[in-house]
Symmetry: C2
Subunit: 148 residues, 2 copies
């Protein structure tokens, strides 16, 4: 049984708030593939921690604290999935892995990985070595440039 963390609830609520300010129990449940009672329970806990404002039968809304956390989590998430995609991982798998890994990575590693992705993405030209790497994955051969 896959256990979803509080953080994932925060991220989901954040995403759903793009459509409407108040997010309903059912929406969250559906999106997270979880039953409504689990959501009700979690919203209570998130409320206790000051991450959401929750009114029974009405819906939930992130507090500014919750929103800040959501943005941080989403950034880490994006860094990881971008990285995995650069390595040539299937988009869905990258997405899935990022979801799970993001909550377990230290701030330090996340920060470093972020710089790495940034370094690659803002390279003057699409770096040759990525091409070489993907080639290496498929054929096992590497192009023999000395500075590779």
């Amino acid at each position: 049984m896959r256990r979803i963390t509080k953080e994932e609830y925060i991220e989901t609520i954040f995403a759903l708030q793009k459509d409407s300010v108040k997010v309903q129990t059912g929406q969250i449940a559906q999106r997270m593939d979880v039953k409504p009672p689990s959501v009700t329970e979690m919203l209570g806990k998130l409320q206790d921690e000051g991450l959401v404002n929750y009114e029974p039968y009405i819906g939930a809304e992130l507090t500014s604290k919750g929103e800040k956390l959501a943005r941080e989590l989403l950034e880490t998430h994006k860094v990881i999935s971008d990285f995995l995609e650069i390595l040539g991982i299937d988009k869905d798998v990258a997405e899935h892995d990022a979801c799970i890994i993001e909550h377990h990575m230290s701030r330090e590693s996340a920060q470093r990985l972020k710089m790495f992705v940034e370094f690659i993405q803002t390279a003057p030209k699409d770096p040759k070595w990525i091409e070489n790497f993907l080639m290496y994955c498929e054929t096992g051969k590497r192009e023999c440039r000395p500075e590779d």
Copy 2:
């Protein structure tokens, strides 16, 4: 509260078996920073899954199935920590993050990351772009070679 997974017990037992065949409850508890009753309980479960042979008051020993799993886990672990170290993460942090992440990464991503690390480590020369990257982390500047 940090929740340790079954897999981490397997890895720990594997590591301790280098010193003696039978591994005792107390050794595992100490190494994992957990109390002995937790270990007893877990050994029972691992036994049920056919991963260890466990005799109360004597100790535990990995089955061949458990040992196979341990080797796989350790390989993934090493891939992740090597990668983080290449990015310039502190060894202890890399080690710690690898411990946690390894259990959450898909086989596909782990395999790809493995190839990536291998690609870097077996590069004809220590790749220039890693130096460039570490420089970029420290100074924010990148060396402007067109093929960067």
